[in-house]
Symmetry: C2
Subunit: 240 residues, 2 copies
Amino acid sequence: MPRDYFEAWISKMHALNTLQESDIAAIRKLPTRSVEITSGTTIISEGQLVSECCILLEGFACRSKLNREGGRQIVSFHMAGDMLDIQHLLFDKADHNVEAISAATVVFFPMADLRKIVDDNSGIAKALWRDCLVDASIFREWVLNVGRRDAKSRVAHMLCEFAARREAAGLGSPERFDLPMTQEQIGDATGLTAVHVNRMLRQLEEEGVFERNGRNVRISDWAQMKRVAEFDDGYLHLAA
Amino acid sequence: MPRDYFEAWISKMHALNTLQESDIAAIRKLPTRSVEITSGTTIISEGQLVSECCILLEGFACRSKLNREGGRQIVSFHMAGDMLDIQHLLFDKADHNVEAISAATVVFFPMADLRKIVDDNSGIAKALWRDCLVDASIFREWVLNVGRRDAKSRVAHMLCEFAARREAAGLGSPERFDLPMTQEQIGDATGLTAVHVNRMLRQLEEEGVFERNGRNVRISDWAQMKRVAEFDDGYLHLAA
DNA sequence: CGTCAAATTGACAAGGCTCAAGTGCCGTGG
DNA sequence: CCACGGCACTTGAGCCTTGTCAATTTGACG
């Protein structure tokens, strides 16, 4: 597999903290194992001991936790360039699950090698640390989203965030795109049932905020969408 | 103010990653400003440019975000030894509010000094990084709590987490303690109203899970409390 | 003793869930 | 090429958990 596969990740880190040539060279030397997986494949399971680091190169994934009754809460969505288990740089046990929600390409390499790179390249350490902080900021926004917004706002907010992050990752315009997730997954991310997500999507559509064609989405009134969602992209810390 | 005030923070960092004498010495040399504040005092406001770092030495605080209708979501509680704005090591603008929920003592020092210490002392950098990761793990659990648990479980979970973290911070037994927060604040943390929090507390009390005397709490049936809460302290990563 | 915030309780409303039935789409195999 | 099966999506009806509103009570403190 050609090493350009790393581009998405390197470019994401570079946006978090300007990398030196030496930083990039060190990353390119990592011994990697690239894998193509199908939608639904579990990448990391809660409780698992993790010794490899995993980067998502193509496709989409989510992280989730379960409650006792089998209820599932998705805590984040991920796309090209995202590191799926940065926390295992310092923890050895996974505290949540990670799974692909579309066909995807992921690359693995030994966590020990990344630890060494982080020790030797402060630019990379800083980029990764900042990535953790952005992650945490997004989680805080999600707590607010599920805790204190009504159903329509929650769904709209999820759409806005997905569109904004997609764009930031260089995956194209935020005004028209394909959603990789099912309505059930949107429900699991927003603390709603699939049925109610469906009703909220229809309502947003009837109000002329956006149009749907299957999973393809066109946001016709971005200003209104953001208003309904109470979306302000500050918490994504896109401009480092 | 005597420097032993730092003890709570140093001991927390030490638990996250064993510190060297030199690490500790560097911290003790920080030029500090210690302040006593009353309950309700805002420490950091959303949008504010932050140039100082703030550690909570005594008392309790919370971080919160607001939605447009004035709804408030508390995203975390903090206690002695917690760093209230570790994210400002790498971001200059606050994306949420921090306020005291009891009388408290906080210490400030220039973020620039901490940045320098972090650059020179990898042990401290690692401890702080791990602290960020624990934070993120707790946020994920809160997303699950607010998104996929019913009211009684949410409240019970908040109580369990508070008790466990209190104990880990060396503030005493998890079986009997005083709650610093009002029922309204518990509601803001769990995505419920104060009225419903009150009902849930009464219900837990009637079921014999715990006893109350004002804000003083005694957990009479810890096993049952954990069961109701679906509480498993793994996500707190107490044993680094 | 007066004041004020917090806690408590009841009656009622509503947002979102559950259950159930049906539709549409797409890949697979005959 | 068409029939079939399965999954995602839709939609309706009724229920239930939680919110809203409002009135008291309690407790801390000056």
